[in-house]
Amino acid sequence: MTDPRRTLATVWRLESARIVATLARIVRDVGLAEELAQDTMVIALEQWPAAGIPDHPASWLMATAKHRAIDTLRRHRTYQEKLQEVGRATPQKVHDEPDLDDYVGDDLLRLIFTTCHPALPPESRAALTLRLLGGLSTDEIARAYLVPEPTVGKRITRAKRTLAERQIPIELPPPAEASERLASVLEVIYLIFNEGYSATAGDDWMRPALCDEALRLGRLLAGLAPAEPEVHGLVALMELQASRTTARTDADGNPILLPDQDRRRWDRLLIRRGLDALKHTERTYGPYALQAAIAACHARAARAEDTDWARIAALYDVLALVSPSPIVELNRAVAVANARGPAEGLAIVDGLELPQYPLLPAVRGDLLARLGRTDEARQEFQRAAAMTRNAREQALFAARAAALSP
């Protein structure tokens, strides 16, 4: 299997993020960087079949890409200088010869901060990140997000244009903005993960490829920014959630809730990795670290009955302070109910407003059922079944309502 095209395609998938990141830093434009990366691939496609696969394919690609970039800058500079001579245009600032040996890790960080820039609409951040850092094609992204390919193409094109028009520098954020910008990056990665982890419409609950991409991006970021506890928190959370993938659905694709999952099917390697990542968040209380700590409580319980709900409730208490939201309150209510009894949980739920969120009536239904208020419980599950757009959830809630029939 030394087919040059296949090797090129594989090496490209492994290296394209680093190559695009390096090019982006050199030419200071994400769109041009991608074009030059494509040029590099074309050169390889022409040369490798004839000359053979290079001894070090990845280095060959990177070196070729850098040369293309330098050539492009020089031609641009020559053109600008010629314009100057002829006096037809005011001279633009010409970039100094860039440092070719700049550390590629910094380049990757610069790129991911750029693709996740808050100036871009949220859907575009995910698409651009998956494209430039994940190396996914427009078609692959479209299939993962269940949208037409031209839609994704437009999102990516517009995102590149916005970056160019607003002259957003491909740089690490200044210290004053670092915290907010990092939060944006983590949010993009976690949204990609969640997109893969649970669909909100349609029949299929899982698109595992997006979870793998998000995990890969998270691990990459943890290697690039090891001093940031929330990065480790996010990675821990994703590893722990992903560990349950095989146990979450039955043979027919029906969802199995956490208390009912066969824990022997949990991936212990991912649990170990998640718990290891969690260690880097000790004594920090960011939202990802806290959510990961909660996930770790489940991971450590050999059986559902062994779950330390008191600890989970305490963690939710902190999360409600750090990152308050009705959904956090809802989850806190569940934990409190399991730790201290359904009545206390119900008191929290009754104070919540979450319109069109099917899990709210579902949780309420469960708590009412535990309190023996069967008729009210059934009505809540029926309400939940009517509210959800996910066919599998609907079946689950309808089944619970039916089980409570007189």
């Binding site: 299997m1 395609a9 995990l215 390697l269």
Partner: protein, 121 residues
């Protein structure tokens, strides 16, 4: 999907050059940092181990070393998008050996780990 890479080869009389060990560590770090390498470790020579076998209804245990010419030297578990990516990682380790320890010869078995994708209808 996951692949297990088992590196097998001769154990030459001379130890591996330190540059090779450094380069292997470096490549391992890169693979880990890119999110692909999940787990890896070197394996002691078979003389430190044993073999438990079942043949003809008989259980036997034999202490190492095993008689085979090739020893299993290390394992590495990768999370990749397809077999080609796993093969490329294996090739990267072999290239290091080629460049930094020419006396060494061996092979890397790239074995697919069964996962959820194998159990779908």
């Amino acid at each position: 999907m996951r692949y297990l890479i088992l590196l097998k080869g001769s154990r030459p009389a001379t130890p591996p050059p330190p540059e090779l060990m450094g380069a292997i560590a470096q490549l391992g770090e890169e693979a880990t940092a890119s999110g692909a390498l999940l787990d890896t470790a070197g394996l002691s020579p078979s003389s430190a181990g044993a073999r438990a076998s079942l043949y003809g209804g008989q259980l036997t245990v034999t202490d190492g070393p095993f008689a085979e010419a090739k020893e299993t030297i290390s394992y590495a578990l990768y999370q990749v998008r397809d077999k080609d990516e796993a093969v490329e990682w294996a090739n990267r380790f072999l290239r290091l050996h080629r460049d930094l320890w020419p006396e060494w010869e061996g092979e890397a078995d790239v074995l697919k780990v069964m996962g959820p994708e194998d159990f779908q209808a």
